[in-house]
Amino acid sequence: MEKGFLTQKLFIPVYLNSKGMKLKEYQGKEIFHDNGIKIPDSFLITSPEQIKELKGEVVLKAQVLHGGRGKAGLIQTATQEDAKQKAEEMFKKDVKEILVEEKVDVKEEYYLSITIDRTEKKAMLMFSKEGGIDIEELAEKHPKKIKKYYLDEEFSPKKTAKELEIPQWLIEKLYEIFKKYDLELIEINPLVKVDDNLLALDSKIIVDDNALFRQKFEKDESLTDIEKKAKEAGLSYVELEGNIGIIGNGAGLVMSTLDMVNHYGGKVANFLDVGGGADKEKMEKSLELVMIKKPKGIFINIFGGITRCDDIAQGLIDYKKEHNIEIPVVIRMIGTNEEEAKKILEENQIHFINSMEEGAKKIVELVK
């Protein structure tokens, strides 16, 4: 039988970039420490002067959320002599906090995580004896060296611990933390063996955004300014590279709109979903956000179900009256109160298009 083309490649369903809230390394380590998982001795500084007497060699680790810290010079070993100076340089790179950690003599590095497998709808534990590198790189290079276990009714921590040669309590603890804090991902990479102890040398934790109402975490920080504003307004916004602003309702429809503008040779400046049942105010806010990037044209695509087309049209007119929009705007609407919307737009000399495809073509033509 022909082997399935899917099974040849290991699918890693890690929430590396989910919309969930990422914790910084030290925040994750605090959780480890509070729950009995050992971490190296360390302290957090917010200025170089806070480095006093060191017990030995240390590692300075910038507390930022993006990956590739090593390559960016944001993780450096230091001694009493040069720690202050190195920290000073690091703080110049838009770094606000540095974790000063004892340097650990590493012999073996493991990878250990729990995440969610969307297809199986289950939590999944992953382990590898080849730790220290990125899981995707690991999956690429040594797919067979990653062991996966579904955490369902059949899962046995005892058996798994034996197979992986790691303590049973660690597996149980990790799963307990995963559930207790509503996590999408908990990752220890590397998990290192020092003497007879296992230490968590790094932490990666992502908390489910939808569960923040029952958790005590502070708000996310990994959004751009416009994305932050959008979130506050209850809009879904993603900044992109092009020059055509896009507003639509419903994530799938907006994605499809981006694809279509792109198909006809345009470049989109953003993804903006006004959501279900958007009103005049939300429309005005959307325009305000889209205009920040100074696009050369705007394409509005609304399928009126719960959303009323006339509300959207009025929002556009009101915004246009208050702010001078001199760029072309193409608006396509269909559905609830379409006729009323058409009337409002025509009274204000705004061209109204009925088909999404025609609308996409039109805006690309006008921007060129």
Partner: protein, 288 residues
């Protein structure tokens, strides 16, 4: 015929007395859906659109039997409400958005144990045109017919269904399976049901970036007896950004539109580049 719901399916609305619940119940009732009772804890004795409200599902079922519940319950209470429905042997349509992912996992585990269908969460629901609707889709765009539709999206489904209807292609059943990372019924389960439905002659799958459901479905479709046409939203989506739906995200190199399209094409499934191409492909497809 249709799948999952038809004109005889008796339904319960959980969260009937809320703003969303009552608004959409009115629409569903107008469409012909047989809604026999509503459930909102503490509101027993009230009536909404002439439908009696009960405190618990058990009480509601004692009043009149039902097979399926549609839920308009805030995310905080969604897990308990879903558990209540499943424990009482009801299938479930979860409209609610923003349910914690751990809760969703628990709901799906219980559904599996109880052998019940869950549609959603974060979905527009299910409609068998001309017969019954459980959800929030606009009534007027649907038309009874022979095309089955399964979609991860809401408004994009309306967009495509509207084009189908305008081109004379009615629908047997349209299911919005939801935009969350953890959902109940998926493409494959929907396709299996459409396979058995004599009135469904072809199926349209509306997928999007994120996860690997489309890839798995492509494998499954290698031996599928009915014509299937796919559309994938998010060809231009950047890596690492959630595109509105919590589940629509390209993680590393996984979940791209390109991979999904390739997988479908490898299984001999046509993938439309624009929604309008779906109509053209349907016209070309050989089915009676």
């Amino acid at each position: 015929m249709a799948i999952i719901i038809d004109e005889n399916t008796k339904c319960i609305v959980q969260g009937l007395t809320g703003k969303q619940g009552s608004f959409h119940t009115k629409q569903m009732k107008e469409y012909g859906t047989k809604i026999v009772s509503g459930v909102t804890p503490g509101k027993k004795g009230e009536k909404v659109e002439g439908i009696p409200v009960f405190n618990t599902i058990k009480e509601a079922l004692e009043h009149e039997k039902a097979e399926i519940s549609v839920m308009f319950v805030p995310p905080k209470f969604a897990k308990d409400a879903a558990f209540e429905a499943l424990e009482n042997d009801l299938h479930l349509v979860i409209i609610t958005e923003h349910i914690p992912v751990h809760d969703a996992m628990e709901i799906m585990a219980l559904a599996k144990k109880k052998n019940k269908i869950v549609i959603g969460p974060n979905c527009p629901g299910i409609i068998s045109p001309g017969k019954s609707k459980l959800g929030i889709m606009p009534n007027h765009i649907f038309k009874e017919g022979k095309i089955g539709v399964i979609s991860r999206s809401g408004t994009l489904t309306y967009e495509i269904v509207n084009e189908l209807t305008n081109s004379g292609f009615g629908q047997s059943t349209v299911i919005g399976i939801g935009g969350d990372p953890i959902i109940g019924l998926d493409f494959i389960e929907g396709l299996k049901k459409f396979e058995k439905d004599d009135d469904t002659k072809a199926v349209i799958l509306i997928g999007e970036i994120g996860g690997n459901m489309e890839e798995k479905t492509a494998e499954f479709l290698k031996d599928y007896p009915k014509p299937v046409i796919a559309y994938i939203a998010g060809r231009t989506a950047p890596k690492g950004k959630t595109m509105g739906h919590a589940g629509a995200i390209i993680q590393g190199n996984a979940g791209t539109a390109e991979q999904k399209i390739k997988a479908f094409e490898k299984s001999g499934i046509k993938v439309a580049e624009l929604p309008s191409e779906i109509i053209k492909m349907l016209k070309d497809a050989k089915f009676s």
